[in-house]
C-alpha cells in the first residue's frame, strides 16, 4: 500500500512540535505537547488505513474495498476520548499544582536530588542483635 505524503509530513511536524513541547518544564506546555502527540498518533493510525475511501457504512452497491478501513477508525475513536480524559486529568493536576504552589513548572524532585547528593541512607533491619536471654520479665526472688 502506498502512503499520502501530505499526511506523513503533517504527522511528522505534529510529532516534532509535540515532543519539543513535552520536554519543556511548564506543565501547560507539556499538556499541549501531549495533545499534539495524540493528534499525530491518530494521524499515524489513519494513515495505516491506506487510501481514503467511502465511509464504512454498509449500503447497497458499496463493496468493502471501497470503504476506508474501519479498524483504524475504531481505534482512533477510542483514542480521541481517552486523550480527552487524560488531558482533563492533567488539567486538574495543573490546577492543583497552581493552587498549592503557585507553580506551573516541573521542578526536580527534592528527594531524588537529595539521594544523588548522598544525603539519604537506607535503613535496614538490624539482624546482628541477638534477643535477650529470657522471654519473661525478671522478678526478684
Amino acid at each position: 500500500m502506498s502512503v499520502s505524503l501530505v499526511l506523513v509530513i503533517v504527522m511528522a511536524v505534529l510529532y516534532a512540535c509535540g515532543v519539543y513541547l513535552m520536554l519543556e518544564r511548564s506543565m501547560t506546555k507539556v499538556l499541549l505537547g501531549f495533545l499534539l502527540v495524540g493528534n499525530a498518533t491518530n494521524l499515524l493510525i489513519i494513515t495505516m488505513a491506506g487510501k481514503a475511501g467511502l465511509a464504512p457504512i454498509v449500503s447497497e452497491g458499496v463493496a468493502p474495498e471501497e470503504m476506508t478501513d474501519p479498524l483504524p477508525e475504531a481505534l482512533i475513536l477510542t483514542a480521541i476520548v481517552i486523550t480527552f480524559g487524560v488531558s482533563a486529568f492533567l488539567l486538574a493536576l495543573i490546577y492543583r499544582s497552581w493552587r498549592l504552589g503557585k507553580e506551573d513548572s516541573l521542578g526536580d524532585d527534592a528527594d531524588d536530588v537529595a539521594m544523588r547528593g548522598g544525603a539519604v541512607t537506607m535503613q535496614g533491619e538490624d539482624t546482628d542483635a541477638l534477643p535477650g536471654d529470657t522471654e519473661f520479665e525478671e522478678r526478684p526472688s
Binding site: 513541547l21 511548564s26 464504512p56 477508525e73 487524560v86 482533563a88 486538574a92 524532585d109 522471654e135 519473661f136
Partner: protein, 954 residues
C-alpha cells in the same frame, strides 16, 4: 488427607477469632486438628506398613496441570506423625506458656496452626508445585512466628533474615523442580524419583538446585546462621519449627530424593562435606553459649548437619539409620526446647551462669531432660542410642566400601558426637547443677500440666528405644526403596560387641573429657574466635544490596521529568531506528495526497503546530493546538471517517472549554520564569522523533501486503450485529472488550479529576436547587409583572449568579437549545448503529448541553441541570456495558453476543432494537459522567474555591 488440610486452614481462622473468649485455652482447640491428623495417620498404619501407598488427588487448576496430589508412604507417614504429634503437644504446652495478656495471641495461635497445616501438607505432597507452595508457606508462617514480638527489633530482623534465606533457597529449588518436572514430563514427585536418570546433565543441575533449597531450609552450612537468630521466636515455636518440623523439611526432601538421585555425581560428596562441616561448626559453637536456648540452637544446627550426612549418604542402611535418627531428634530436641521454656518461665532467665540448684527443685523436669539428653548423646536404651548405632555401623560399612568420602563421614560424625556429648553435659550442668556463689532465681511453681508435653515426648524416646525391633519394621519400608541388599541392617538395642558400640563408647568417653575440661576449653575458644562469620556475610550482602539500590536509584532517578522523557524518547528512537535499519521492504509508490484539500488542511495544521510551540500566551497556545484538532476533524471527514470527525470536533470543543476553565486561574504568560533551557537539544529530539515516525509510517504501510481483516467487517456487522455503521458495531460488538477497557480508563480519569479537585470526597457539595420549587418560582417570575427592577432569569438557578456575570442573551439561548441538544444527543446515540453517531458522540453532545447550562447559569445551575452525582453516572454506565457483555453467558452463548428484535409500533411503523444498543447507552452515560466530572471539578469547584479566596459570596 485433603480434608485435613482444609481443616487446618479453617481451624486457623477459627482459633484466631476464638482467642478473645478463650484466652490461652484456645490452644487446646487448636490442638484438636493436629491430634485428629495424628490419629488419622495412625489409622493408616496398617496400610502403610503393609507396603501400600495411600493416595488422594484433587484437580486444583487443571489449565496449569496443578493438582493437589497427596501420597502417604513410609517416609511421609513418619514425617506426618512427627509433625502432627509434636505439633499437638506443643500447642498443649502453649496453654501454660503464654499468659492471657500476651499481645496478638490470636494471630499467633492462628499462624501456628496454619504452619502445622502447611508442614503436614508439605510432607504428604506428591505434586512438586504443591510441595513448593507449601514449602514457601512454611517460610512465610515461620516469618510471622519468629517475628511474633513485633516491638522487638531483634525479633523483626531475625524473622526477615530467616525469610530471606529460606525463600532464596526456595526460589532456587523451584528452578530445579521445574527442570525435573519438565524433563520427566510429570509433576508427580514419586514418578520423577521413580524414573530418575542420574547421569543426565540437566538432572544433575536440577538436583543441585533443589539441594540448595533443602540445605537453606535445614540451616546447613553456609546457610546455618539464620537458625540461632531465629531463637528470637517464642520458645514453643523453636520447639516445633526449629526442632521437629520446618528445619526437618530440608532433611525430608533429601531423604525423599535420595532413593532416586543419590547416584548423581557429587551428591554424596557435597552433602557429606557440608553436613560434617555443619555438625562440627554447630557443636563447637554450642559449647561457647551461655544462653541455654542458644546451646540448643547451635546443637540443632549441629544435629541437622548430622542428619544431612546420614540421609545424603545414600545407602540402604544409612537411610534406615537416618530415618531413625530423624525421629529420635524430633522427640528429644523438642523436649529440650520445651524444658528451656519451663526453666525460663520459672526463673526469668536462660543464662546458665545464673541458674543454680534447679535439679533438686524440679525433679520431673530434670529427669525428663536427662532422658532427652541421653537420647541425644546415644545412651541405651533410648531411641537415640539405637539410631546412633545404626548410623555408625552403616557409615563404617560405607567407608569400607566407598573409601575416602565414607571415612570423612564416619570421622566427622564421631568427632561431632564427641562435641554433642560435651555440650549435652554442659546443658544439664548449666540448667540443674548447684553452682557455688550463684543466687538461685525463683518465681512461682509451675502448674503440673505444663509438664505433660515434655514428659510425653521424652517418654516416647524411651519407649521407642525399647521397642527397637518394632521400629525397625515400621521404618523398613523407606529403606526398602534403596533396593535389596545382602545383609540388611536391623535396628536393635543389642547387636553384640561390634565396632559401632566401641565407637559409641569412645565418643561418650571423649565427650565427658571435653566437658570436664570446659573451663580450659573456653579460654581456647576465645583465642580461636573466628574473624568472619556467615552471619556477617549475610549482613554484608544485605548492606551491599541496599547500597547498590541507592546507587542505582540516584543514577536513574534524576527527579526531572524532561530528563526522563528525553531518555524515553531517545531509547524509543534508538530501538525503532535499529529495527528500521534491518528493514528491506520499501513502498513502491508514494502519493502526494489523497485529494487536494488535504494539502490545504495540512498546511493549516503545520502552521498552527509550529505557532503553538512559539506562542508566549497561554490562551494563544491552547487555541493553536485546538486548530490542529479541528484540522484532524476535517481530515477525518474527508477521509471517509464521519464518526471520527464528529467525535473529534465535539472533543475539541469540550477540551477547549476545560482549558479555559482552568487557565483562567493561571497567569496569561506562558513559559519559564528563566526562559527555556536546552532549546537545541529538545529541538533535536523533537525533529528526530518526527522524522523517525514519518519513516515508520512509510515503511509500515509499505509492509502491509495481506488483505486487511476488516474487509470482512461490513458483512459481519450486518449479518451478525444487525448494524450498518461498521465503526460503531466494532466498538459495541465486534471489539466490545476493548471498549470496556476504554470505559474503565475514562472512569479512572474522571475519578482522578474529581479527587484532585475535591480532595476528600468524590461528590461536590453544591447547593442543591429543589427543582420543583425552582421551576414554580421561575414560572411565576416569567409570568409576573414585568415592571419590577430586578431582572428575571430564564434558568432555574440563574439568579444565583452575580448580576455583572449574567448575560440575558446567553440565558435565553441556553433555555431554548438545552432540551433540543438533549434530544439530539439521544438521537445521535440511537442511530449510531446504522449511521454516524453512537454513544461517544451522543454523550459528548449531552455533555455540551451541560456545558451550556454551566456557562450561562454558573455552578448552582449546573447542579440543577444535572442533579445526579457524576460517580453514579459512571458506575451506571459501566454496569450497563458490563451487563450487556455478560448477559449472553446466561443464555449459553459467548459474552457480548448481540441479538435483535423488532418492535411493532402500530401506525408509527416498526423499530429494530439491537441489544448492543444497551452497551452503547452505557458508553453514553460514562461519557456524560466524564464531562460532568470535568465541569463539576474544574468548573464549579474551582469557582467555589475562587469565591472562597476572594471572600465574596454570591
Amino acid at each position: 488427607m485433603i480434608f485435613l488440610l482444609v481443616a487446618f486452614g479453617l481451624g486457623s481462622l477459627l482459633v484466631a477469632a476464638l482467642t478473645r473468649w478463650l484466652g490461652t485455652r484456645v490452644f487446646l482447640v487448636a490442638a484438636i486438628v493436629p491430634t485428629a491428623s495424628f490419629a488419622w495417620a495412625l489409622a493408616q498404619s496398617p496400610a502403610v506398613l503393609g507396603g501400600r501407598v495411600v493416595e488422594e488427588s484433587f484437580s486444583w487448576i487443571p489449565q496449569l496441570g496443578l493438582t493437589l496430589d497427596v501420597r502417604l508412604d513410609t517416609l511421609s507417614w513418619v514425617m506426618a506423625l512427627v509433625v502432627s504429634g509434636v505439633g499437638a503437644l506443643v500447642m498443649v504446652y502453649c496453654v501454660r506458656y503464654f499468659g492471657d495478656d500476651e499481645p496478638s495471641l490470636g494471630r499467633f495461635a492462628g499462624v501456628l496452626l496454619a504452619f502445622a497445616g502447611s508442614m503436614f501438607g508439605l510432607v504428604v505432597a506428591d505434586d512438586v508445585f504443591l510441595l513448593f507452595i507449601l514449602w514457601e508457606a512454611t517460610s512465610v508462617f515461620s516469618y510471622l512466628l519468629i517475628g511474633h514480638r513485633t516491638a522487638s527489633k531483634a525479633s523483626r530482623g531475625a524473622a526477615l533474615q530467616a525469610l530471606l534465606v529460606t525463600t532464596f533457597g526456595g526460589l532456587v529449588m523451584l528452578v530445579g523442580l521445574v527442570i525435573l518436572s519438565v524433563n520427566a514430563g510429570t509433576t508427580s514427585l514419586s514418578a520423577i524419583i521413580g524414573g530418575a536418570d542420574a547421569a543426565q546433565p540437566a538432572t544433575v543441575v536440577a538436583v543441585f538446585l533443589v539441594l540448595v533449597g533443602a540445605l537453606s531450609k535445614s540451616a546447613v552450612f553456609p546457610f546455618h546462621f539464620w537458625l540461632p537468630a531465629a531463637m528470637a521466636a517464642p520458645t514453643p515455636v523453636s520447639a516445633y519449627l526449629h526442632a521437629a518440623a520446618m528445619v526437618k523439611a530440608g532433611v525430608y526432601l533429601i531423604a525423599r530424593l535420595a532413593p532416586g538421585f543419590a547416584d548423581v555425581p557429587g551428591w554424596r560428596e557435597s552433602l557429606v562435606v557440608l553436613g560434617v562441616a555443619t555438625m562440627l561448626l554447630g557443636g563447637w559453637t554450642a559449647l561457647k553459649q551461655n544462653d541455654l536456648k542458644l546451646v540448643l540452637a547451635y546443637g540443632t544446627v549441629s544435629q541437622l548437619g548430622f542428619l544431612t550426612v546420614v540421609m545424603g549418604f545414600g545407602t540402604r542402611d544409612a537411610a534406615l539409620a537416618g530415618l531413625a535418627l530423624l525421629l529420635a531428634h524430633a522427640l528429644y530436641k523438642s523436649t529440650l526446647f520445651l524444658v528451656v521454656g519451663i526453666i525460663d518461665h520459672r526463673t526469668g532467665t536462660r543464662d546458665l551462669r545464673r541458674l543454680s540448684g534447679l535439679g533438686r527443685e524440679m525433679p520431673v523436669v530434670s529427669t525428663v531432660t536427662a532422658l532427652a539428653l541421653a537420647s541425644m548423646v546415644g545412651l541405651p536404651p533410648l531411641l537415640g542410642f539405637v539410631a546412633k548405632e545404626a548410623v555408625l555401623t552403616s557409615l563404617l560399612d560405607g567407608a569400607l566400601e566407598l573409601g575416602a568420602i565414607g571415612w570423612v563421614a564416619l570421622g566427622g560424625v564421631v568427632l561431632g558426637s564427641v562435641l554433642t556429648v560435651a555440650y549435652a553435659g554442659r546443658f544439664f550442668w548449666g540448667a540443674f547443677w548447684s553452682k557455688a556463689g550463684v543466687d538461685p532465681v525463683r518465681r512461682e511453681r509451675e502448674h503440673p500440666d505444663f509438664l505433660v508435653s515434655p514428659v510425653l515426648l521424652a517418654a516416647s524416646g524411651l519407649a521407642l528405644g525399647l521397642l527397637a525391633p518394632l521400629v525397625d519394621g515400621w521404618l523398613g519400608g523407606y529403606a526398602a526403596e534403596f533396593g535389596e541388599v545382602e545383609h540388611p541392617y536391623h535396628l536393635a538395642l543389642w547387636h553384640g560387641l561390634e565396632p559401632a558400640l566401641g565407637l559409641s563408647a569412645l565418643t561418650i568417653a571423649l565427650g565427658a573429657v571435653v566437658f570436664a575440661a570446659r573451663a580450659r576449653l573456653a579460654v581456647t575458644q576465645d583465642a580461636l574466635s573466628l574473624r568472619f562469620s556467615a552471619a556477617e556475610g549475610y549482613g554484608l550482602t544485605m548492606r551491599s544490596i541496599d547500597r547498590l539500590a541507592a546507587r542505582t536509584t540516584s543514577l536513574t532517578q534524576r527527579g526531572s521529568l524532561p530528563f526522563y522523557l528525553g531518555v524515553v524518547f531517545l531509547v524509543f528512537g534508538g530501538a525503532v531506528t535499529a529495527a528500521l535499519v534491518l528493514n528491506r521492504s520499501w513502498p513502491s509508490e508514494v502519493r502526494l495526497w489523497d485529494y487536494p484539500g488535504q494539502l490545504a488542511i495540512g498546511a493549516f495544521m503545520v502552521v498552527a503546530a509550529v505557532a503553538a510551540v512559539r506562542a508566549t500566551k497561554r490562551f494563544q497556545a491552547v487555541v493553536l493546538v485546538g486548530i490542529t484538532g479541528f484540522g484532524m476533524s476535517a481530515l477525518f471527514a474527508l477521509q471517509g471517517a464521519p464518526d471520527l470527525a464528529l467525535t473529534q470536533i465535539l472533543v475539541e470543543v469540550v477540551t477547549l472549554i476545560a482549558f479555559v476553565l482552568v487557565l483562567r486561574r493561571l497567569p496569561a504568560r506562558l513559559g519559564e520564569k528563566h526562559g527555556s533551557t536546552h532549546r537545541l537539544v529538545r529541538a533535536a529530539i523533537g525533529i528526530g522523533v518526527g522524522v523517525l515516525m514519518a519513516v515508520v509510517a512509510v515503511v509500515s504501510l509499505g509492509a502491509r501486503n495481506d488483505l486487511p481483516i476488516s474487509l470482512e467487517w461490513p458483512e459481519l456487522a450486518y449479518e451478525g450485529a444487525h448494524g450498518l455503521n461498521v465503526v460503531n458495531v466494532a466498538l459495541v460488538d465486534l471489539r466490545g472488550w476493548d471498549t470496556m477497557g476504554e470505559l474503565s480508563v475514562i472512569i479512572a480519569a474522571a475519578t482522578g479529576v474529581a479527587s484532585l479537585i475535591f480532595i476528600s470526597t468524590r461528590t461536590d457539595n453544591l447547593p442543591r436547587v429543589p427543582r420543583k420549587a425552582a421551576r414554580k418560582d421561575l414560572r411565576a417570575r416569567l409570568t409576573a409583572d414585568r415592571d419590577q427592577q430586578e431582572r428575571t432569569s430564564w434558568l432555574l438557578a440563574g439568579r444565583t449568579l452575580a448580576a455583572r456575570n449574567r448575560s440575558i442573551l446567553l440565558e435565553v439561548v441556553v433555555r431554548l437549545i438545552f432540551h433540543a441538544l438533549i434530544v439530539v444527543s439521544l438521537y445521535v446515540l440511537l442511530v449510531g448503529h446504522n449511521a454516524p453517531g453512537g454513544g461517544f458522540a451522543g454523550g459528548l453532545v449531552a455533555g455540551m448541553a451541560l456545558v451550556a447550562r454551566y456557562l450561562a447559569g454558573g455552578r448552582v445551575e449546573l447542579g440543577a441541570a444535572a442533579p445526579i452525582d457524576a460517580g453514579k453516572l459512571l458506575g451506571a454506565g459501566l454496569l450497563l456495558a458490563a451487563g450487556t457483555a455478560l448477559t449472553p453467558l446466561f443464555f449459553g452463548v459467548d459474552a457480548l453476543t448481540s441479538t435483535w428484535f423488532t418492535i411493532e409500533l402500530g401506525p408509527l411503523g416498526s423499530l429494530d432494537f439491537v441489544t448492543s444498543t444497551v452497551f452503547d447507552i452505557g458508553v453514553y452515560l460514562v461519557v456524560i459522567g466524564l464531562v460532568l466530572d470535568v465541569l463539576r471539578s474544574l468548573g464549579a469547584e474551582v469557582d467555589r474555591q475562587q469565591e472562597e479566596e476572594a471572600g465574596v459570596s454570591s
